[in-house]
Amino acid sequence: MTVQELVSQLELTVFHLEDGGRAVTGGGYCGDLLSWVMGKAPADGVWMTIMSNVNVAAVAALTDLACVILTESVAPDDPLLRKAELQGINLLGSSLSTYECAVKLSAALGG
């Protein structure tokens, strides 16, 4: 599944979509503590979080995530949005809770 397909299936908000054709092959990771995400999030995966500051972009880039979904209708702050554009991070949003979003992601990725 590609990030673009994920956007459609999960009805995600697009804050910045650099590479919609990128494949999501790593599964998902939920968490808001950045060191846990750094240590555990799978490469080419989807990270679901309520964190919306600029450091989210650095973590997403360094861990090679396919995309980030800000859950609970959280919007990125301006520095994060600028950094996502600059670093080419696929930054998306969902009105669902992190749990609900993960359940939907799991179904979309084939359980």
């Binding site: 060191s35 500051n53 450091n55 861990t63």
Partner: protein
Amino acid sequence: MESLRLTFQVAGGDLTHAGEASSQVKQTLRKMGYDSDTIRRVSVCMYEGEINMVIHANGGTATVDVGLDDITITLADVGPGIPDVEQAMQAGFTTAGDQVRDLGFGAGMGLPNMKKYSDEMNIESTVGVGTTVTMVVRIP
């Protein structure tokens, strides 16, 4: 291939720019054709170390030596030092303040992550003088 040395000055106190040295290292290693697992390990070690220097030590110097068999990351600061290294290494132990924690840092997982993702890690710290952390990531 001759060994390559990258050096960065990491500014203290400003978490908005934290990670830039790590990003540059990552891009350099990618251009040099290193495998993604090695790049990820170096990235995690370097980013965690960078964050530590920004939060705790008012910045410092990061040096990355890219060799044939391994990549060595050296993070040197003249910060307050670590009174009890063993305690600092424990998962979940943190001295980070609320402001830092609100940003998602300060989970007490920085040093454990650095240990986990490096093949060798050494911490030399003297209270009131500073800390030097050296990490070696071997290339498979």
